[in-house]
């Protein structure tokens, strides 16, 4: 089995606070991997280590081994690394000064050898279709994100991430701030990507992980307390924390 991400003995300190403790994780390529846990447990920090956005956190110190897409992520050039790893954030952040079209196009142009305007149009269309947003914006491509709803903005962010043809996609609680209808659409879009790329999704909704993920890791207080295929973890949870978490008590 090939792994998109291999993490060994990862320890992260933020201004002295021990945010991630001895994390070991292997994410199989092409799978959808959910990371779950209560707020403050270190889920977002874990994602940020993978694409080196941890560099933006003041006072952060990282120790351990992190291999992403076959490369030593901690030693690589973060800008090159990020060209292969896409990310969606909890709060949708499409570029407010660019139109819907430009938001997706800028990503495509940065990362692909996109030639003519027609090819660019096709990539933009593909990305918006895969993000299940095309039908809603196909006549509004020159409008600005401020004119879209929260759920649409989040799907725009997905399209923007997809336009760079990433090998790995990181999702940080992507449905946390949008309404249920849009959340479902987003989940469908994510599920449809299975196999084409690897997805690591942070969520605090157990049902969402069940619906969408192949593998699950439960993280609590900076430590991975359980991980395996979603069947194993949800049907036969071994750790107390997992049980409590699944019951909604943590």
């Amino acid at each position: 089995m090939k792994y998109a991400v291999e993490i060994e003995k990862l320890n992260v300190y933020i201004n002295g606070f021990h945010a991630l403790k001895d994390v070991d994780l292997r994410v199989p390529q092409g799978s959808i991997f959910a990371v779950m846990g209560p707020s403050g447990s270190g889920k977002t920090t874990l994602l940020k280590v993978i694409n080196r956005l941890i560099d933006l956190v003041p006072g952060a110190r990282v120790e351990g081994s992190v291999r992403v897409l076959g490369v030593d992520a901690l030693r690589a050039d973060p800008y090159e690394l990020r060209k292969k790893v896409g990310m969606m954030f909890q709060i949708p952040n499409p570029f407010p000064h660019m139109t819907v079209y430009e938001n997706v196009a800028v990503s495509a142009k940065l990362n692909g050898a996109v030639g003519s305007r027609r090819e660019l149009d096709q990539v933009v269309k593909w990305a918006l279709e895969t993000a299940m947003l095309w039908e809603e914006v196909k006549h509004r491509l020159d409008r600005y994100p401020s004119e879209l709803s929260g759920g649409q903005r989040q799907r725009l962010c997905l399209a923007r991430a997809l336009a760079m043809r990433p090998e790995l996609l990181l999702l940080d609680e992507p449905t946390a701030n949008i309404d249920p209808v849009n959340a479902r659409k987003l989940e469908e879009a994510i599920a449809s990507l299975k196999g084409e790329l690897t997805i690591i999704m942070v969520t605090h909704l157990p049902r969402q992980a069940l619906r969408v993920a192949d593998y699950v890791a439960i993280i609590y207080d900076g430590k991975i307390v359980e991980y395996g295929s979603s069947q194993e973890v949800f049907v036969r949870p071994s750790h107390t924390v997992t049980q409590l978490f699944l019951k909604g008590e943590v």
Partner: protein
């Protein structure tokens, strides 16, 4: 295997950093250049600096110079301006940030910002043509005739050009600046303090008294920053101070400030041997004072802001 990331810069970041370093260093270099040029040009007379600062004479033909009058004048004018900016800035702050906090308050604040966009030379023109005669007729002459025995009022005004007029005029021009810093600081006071005051039934006056006393370091700092700015003010001073080497306790007579002296005398200074260096010395003194006061003022304001929010 460990890698301290976080604040660590990757290779590309380092290139970016070093590519922006030249402009940053150039700017700092410019500042250093300015200070060192002044210092170097004053070097010729630095050995006699204290003598010059203690003397009151301006006789370039005979190469006799004294900076006591302008230096004292600068201090007096800046103090008057500071007092004005405190006396008028505080009511403005309370009006904008305490009493009128809604729409009317922001209109007032916009007016204040507009006032800071006033070119000082226009204020100088107005001061010379209107403020000086007004003060002369309505303030100085009456005070001179009725209270002339008090040293401060003991001279006959000459058209109103004096330290008092200069101080007031510069004070009026500096009020918007001082008030804006006070307002910004006052707004940082957590609303819980205000709520606590009203909660125990305090009147607006009593609440304001408490909040103002809380903000005392910031207010003091703002006034110091205003005084530092007032020290360097040239055009208004040159148009209202009367340009006379004169030291007296009376505020109604013409006198000098250092910037006004420079404005008046620097143009001809190259005709004489020591005139320029002496003027550079004067500039150095004012520069040092202004920098020192600004530093203290800034420390007071920013230190207080950190404490009040934390």
């Amino acid at each position: 295997m460990s890698a301290p990331v976080g604040e660590m810069l990757s290779e590309k970041d380092k290139i970016f950093y070093f590519s922006l370093l030249p402009p940053a260093l150039t700017t700092l270099g410019l500042l250093a250049l300015i200070v060192s040029t002044i210092g170097a040009k004053a070097a010729l007379v630095l050995p006699q600096a204290l003598t010059i600062l203690a003397a009151n004479v301006w006789d370039p033909e005979n190469e006799r110079y004294g900076l006591l009058a302008p230096v004292l004048g600068t201090l007096v004018v800046a103090s008057i301006a500071g007092a004005v900016s405190l006396a008028l800035g505080l009511p403005l702050t309370l009006a904008v940030a305490e009493l009128l906090r809604g729409r009317l308050g922001s209109v007032l604040q916009t007016l204040l910002e507009m006032a800071s966009a006033f070119p000082t030379v226009v204020i100088g023109l107005w001061s010379a043509r209107y403020l000086a005669p007004f003060l002369s007729e309505n303030v100085m002459k009456p005070l001179y005739s009725s209270f002339g025995f008090i040293p401060t009022f003991s001279c006959r005004p000459l058209g109103g050009y004096s330290l008092l007029t200069a101080g007031l005029a510069i004070g009026f021009s500096v009020v918007p600046y001082t008030a804006s810093i006070m307002i910004e600081s006052y707004r940082l006071i957590p609303s819980t303090y205000r709520e606590a005051c009203y909660g125990i039934g305090a009147t607006r006056y009593e609440t304001a008294r408490i909040l103002v006393s809380l903000a005392r370091p910031a207010i003091a700092g703002s006034v110091l920053l205003g005084v530092a700015r007032a020290m360097g003010e040239t055009t208004i001073a040159a148009m209202t101070v009367g340009n006379a080497m004169n030291i007296s306790a009376c505020l109604f007579e013409p006198s000098y400030t250092v910037p006004a002296l420079i404005a008046a005398q620097f143009g001809n200074a190259n005709l004489y041997r020591y005139a320029e260096p002496v003027l550079y010395l004067a500039a150095l003194v004012v520069l040092a004072l202004a920098l020192a006061l600004s530093a203290v003022g800034f420390k007071l304001v920013s230190g207080w802001r950190v404490r009040i929010v934390g």
